[in-house]
Symmetry: C2
Subunit: 459 residues, 2 copies
């Protein structure tokens, strides 16, 4: 009897092992098909070209953003997914306007400076002109006296730390000068704020991005200048030269506009009400073409679903691609989506976002429990042939973030491409289609498609 | 007594473990200093700009190659290494000449085609014109009859396989059409050979490279056309259109020229006669600026040694950077170096090459024994903070390859950057300074500098 038990046990182990081996072999074959489709018959690169060139930059509330919604819906419909529809939302509507000029004046020399208003900034109401006072970071500004700052224009010249290997960490460390600079400067009576662009290279164009006001503090105009101009001004400051800053911007806020998240699905064959959401954001800043940020994420996810469809994969759960609107200046798309799906009685079992550019894939991060992170790590073996090696606890994404409030146990996965070149292009005129490499983009599509397949099967 | 033995054993283990921990901590601190120097005060990017813009393309035997030798010696001297000197060698001298034109003619339509003679090709001796016969690869050509080929121009249209994740493997699979195409075509009586460029993207410029003749077979002119032109011709062939190919090239071989490997050293403090050689190749093809191939390798290694010097590192062994001449069409630099160092009675304990472009580092490969590969793998932990993850058996490099004949037990290490974009630029007009990203280049310098430090300490 004991012998028989052991024999049964051994037989069971053999069958189970072969079962695991067989499943893993099937997965390996399927992932290879996904990569072949992405690399040989991929649509992502031409889709991105179309989004960048036919639509272009697409800030929330703009005509271009409206066109991007139509573009997205039409592309998704053309790929023949089970359902394609729009989720209506309200978005902030800020426009840069037509006037944007600046100069520095020192020793009677007048030097033009390229500026970009920060997103959400008030206008200068004509020309604004004042002495420039420089701070090395937000803490230095906070530590200043009113007498040093009142009536002046504050310049915060904090460079991103090029020594940090992960460039997103360097960005995170500087983020507050853009987000909070206007509030802190206005508290001390400044009449304007200028920041060094959050960009890593020494370049000659500003990088814009979102900023905030505090309703209890005066709203002062805020702009970014290029890292090269920032270095030039710093040199003048180091030489104790008096500097006047002169700028004009007629940007302004409009009433909230109607816009949409764009959604496509392959319906789940076993559990249609259990959703795996994956996407990027359709809006972009108004400089460049929003190619890496986040045109890449849009076509990554559209292509990931297209590949599963052409390979005739029948998912157990509903696979839903969402092109989120308004990540850049409000996250209304992400917030609305979370409450909307909850209200519909859907179950969100996992979500994934691509919003770190179209660079060569390194892996995936998981914002989830230890067990969920271990699950992610268990998938690493599938990606070994494709040179992915980052499978760790980390950040998911801005758009999918609000799902955590509605579905506290949901794991959020962030696609992790290589980060080295991202801040060459981020929120700047350099973020154009030509900055994206075809193979790197396609490998991202294949990695995400593979991950969605594995999540559907095993999570 | 037995107790005392155990106590001594435990004490010894504690001391040894702390020793290992202390050494590892010191290494960790030192590697961080290397990376800081490369990323904050690096010289590699401006050195590469100078090599690409002040010297430019530099094929063996050309004036530009001579200038590159002077450039290299001057830069190395400026960095103040212990010794800087030249090793005289003889190199092949082939020149493209001034005429390089081609057309395809079909149904009376004449379409101009961009060509690049393959390096080493004979001239067309005026205009060469013949019917074009297409083969999908070298095996198909070898299987053909003389009657199909005699008097015609052979076109070999084998695309690199974009499905291969490591692009060097896709390159290796096509290499023979360039290297052997002229021999195989001439055996069957062809009067010329044209190949599809060994490049991954669909682009409009040819990629050149080396080719061979067989002294027993007629030498016929050989050229590359762009992947776009190759696709266009294939379409015409598929439509059964008759195609005539017309081309003129006045490239030719000259007598061997005198040239040099450029060498710099920090002398070993304990074992000066034991050498760690690391380098790239100074020559390049004559299209583009030789930025990724192999300007990047040159500045990688120069910068790696510069960093160790400014950090005041005193190596045990002699650290020797070699700028090899003539990797592209003869490897005379590599071969001469191996016999020369052997004849001087030096011991080469390890060698490293960077010749895969200036892209973001992935790791290192080791052409060596299992034990040597395990040694390489033992270093992986040091590179974890810097996102390197490839530590495996693999290829070293063309220039350091001949050292194996003279020093059979030497391990050869190849620096492994990401391979995805390499064949966008390889041997083509697109391989210019602007195609190299500053941070990616600098991270390569730091990785190589760190590896040389660890080899000196632990190998």
């Amino acid at each position: 009897m004991r012998f028989m038990n052991r024999l049964v046990g051994i037989l069971f182990a053999v069958i189970a092992t072969n079962g695991v081996g067989f499943a893993q072999q099937q997965d390996s074959i399927f992932l290879r098909k996904i990569y072949d489709e992405a690399l040989s018959r991929g649509k992502a690169y031409e889709d991105l070209r179309s989004l960048c060139k036919d639509v272009g930059a697409r800030l929330s509330g703009s005509s271009q953003a409206e066109m991007a919604v139509e573009w997205g819906k039409a592309r998704l419909e053309a790929y023949g997914f089970d359902t394609v529809y729009l989720q209506e939302i309200k978005v902030p509507h800020w426009e840069r306007g037509t006037k944007e000029s600046a100069w520095i004046k020192s020793n009677k020399e007048l030097i033009p400076v390229k500026i970009l208003a920060l997103g959400g900034s008030v206008s200068t109401q004509g020309t604004r002109k004042a002495e420039l006072v420089v701070f090395k970071n937000l803490d230095a500004l906070r530590a200043a006296n009113k007498s040093q700052v009142a009536g002046k224009i504050v310049f915060i010249n904090q460079p991103m730390d090029e020594k940090m290997i992960n460039t997103f960490k360097a960005y995170g460390a500087c983020y507050a000068i853009r987000g909070e600079g206007a509030i802190e400067a206005a508290k001390l009576g400044a009449v304007g704020v200028v920041i060094r662009s959050l960009g890593l290279p020494s370049d000659d164009h500003p990088h814009t991005g979102s900023m905030h006001y505090d309703e209890k503090v005066a709203k002062i105009p805020a702009a970014a200048i290029s890292t090269e101009d920032a270095n030039r001004i710093q040199k003048m400051v180091d030489q104790k030269l008096p500097i006047e800053f002169i700028f004009e911007m007629d940007c302004r806020n409009y009433p909230d506009a109607t816009s949409y998240n764009v959604i496509a699905e392959i319906t789940g064959s076993e559990k249609p009400n259990e959703i795996i959401t994956f996407g990027g954001h359709l809006d972009s800043w108004d400089a460049g073409e929003g190619a890496h940020d986040d045109g890449a994420g849009i076509v990554h996810c559209m292509e990931a679903l297209r590949i599963l469809k052409v390979l005739n994969y029948k998912p157990k759960h509903t696979l839903r691609v969402v092109f989120f609107m308004n990540e850049e200046n409000g996250n209304r798309g992400g917030m609305s989506y979370a409450t909307w799906t909850k209200a519909r009685g859907e179950t969100q079992i996992a979500a994934l976002e691509s919003d770190r550019g179209g660079f060569v894939p390194r892996g995936f991060a998981c914002d989830g429990s230890d067990q969920q992170v271990r699950f992610l790590q268990s998938l690493e073996k599938h990606f070994k042939p494709y040179e992915l090696h980052v499978f760790e606890k980390g950040y998911g994404g801005v758009d999918i973030g609000p799902l955590k409030s509605e579905f506290p146990s949901i794991p959020l996965f962030g696609f992790v491409p290589d980060s080295q070149r991202y801040f060459d292009f981020h929120h700047a005129e350099s973020d154009v289609f030509e900055a994206v490499n075809k193979r790197e983009l396609e490998l991202g599509c294949a990695a995400i498609s593979s991950m969605i397949y594995l999540l559907d099967l095993y999570f």
